[in-house]
Symmetry: C2
Subunit: 170 residues, 2 copies
């Protein structure tokens, strides 16, 4: 999997294909959206080989299924989530962990691990208001900004690694 990480990430699910070489390419998804545009972004896309997910809550079975399928295809998935949300009814996080996906949480009763971002192959950032829940897709007003900004990707990758280490100790 190391080789494909050095290749530029592409995606069929948002408009990066032709513009990927541009300095910064952004796209915005707004919700509610019955077409569930989030599914393929969250889990699919077989050119991605590394996927770092840092989200408050994952309860959308369709999104969880996509993450699971990506993991089974060999995508390296890591998930950081909130401890209380992880334990809540309907959470898909421990099911994903049982399948072998690396999971850590903030382990703190007060305070939320409230981020909702993901980084694909260190080169694409997804970030916004959107929790990975069915309700967010179909019922809420939400946004996800997709960006290939080098600054944003490296800054959020740094935040991910910092929290990953921190939550290991908890």
């Amino acid at each position: 999997m190391g080789v494909c990480c050095s290749q530029p990430a592409r995606s069929g699910s948002y408009d990066f294909k032709s513009n990927y070489a541009a300095p910064i390419v952004e796209n915005v998804l707004f919700f509610p959206d019955g077409k569930m545009p989030c599914r393929s972004i969250m889990g699919g896309n077989n050119v991605v080989c590394k996927r770092d997910v840092c989200v408050f809550t994952i309860t959308c079975n369709e999104i969880a299924d996509e993450i699971s399928a990506a993991h089974k295809r060999g995508v390296r998935v890591r998930i950081i989530t909130d401890d209380a949300q992880r334990a809540a009814q309907g959470s898909d996080v421990d099911r994903l962990k049982a399948e072998g996906i690396a999971v850590r949480d903030d382990g703190v009763i007060s305070g939320y691990m409230h981020h909702k971002f993901a980084i694909l192959d260190k080169t694409i950032l997804l970030n916004g208001s959107f929790n990975w829940t069915r309700h967010a897709v179909l019922g809420n007003y939400e946004n996800i900004v997709v960006s290939n900004s080098t600054m944003l990707c490296s800054t959020f990758q740094g935040q991910f690694e910092e929290l990953w280490l921190k939550f290991d100790k908890a």
Copy 2:
């Protein structure tokens, strides 16, 4: 106030001053942060004359005070928020409305107006996981991305105007 809207926005509170002419300038705030870097961004900055706020919940008194002060200085503030959060204990939204700030909510029992973005003078977007609560500042893991991207600003301005009209009818 119309004149200053045609001038480029500047800010002392994040690193836009020297780089504002660059194609896209971004900055990221991570939380928790006891220095409360959000305060001046949310309300202060007297070169801004228009401020459109679209956030799930506002309960942080310090942030609300900054918004109030901006309004009193003549900044045109509009707020879109979630109906249930607005009615919840500790919400500052109706206090801001009583002071003359234009407020609308989604007016829907099911479904959240879950966005957390703001647009300053149509030229700077704040967006991320961050609700405008004290807890988000001091207790949560959160992010705010600040960007002058023309695409992002116009896309989110469009979303704001769409929801503003929609929620008027509700």
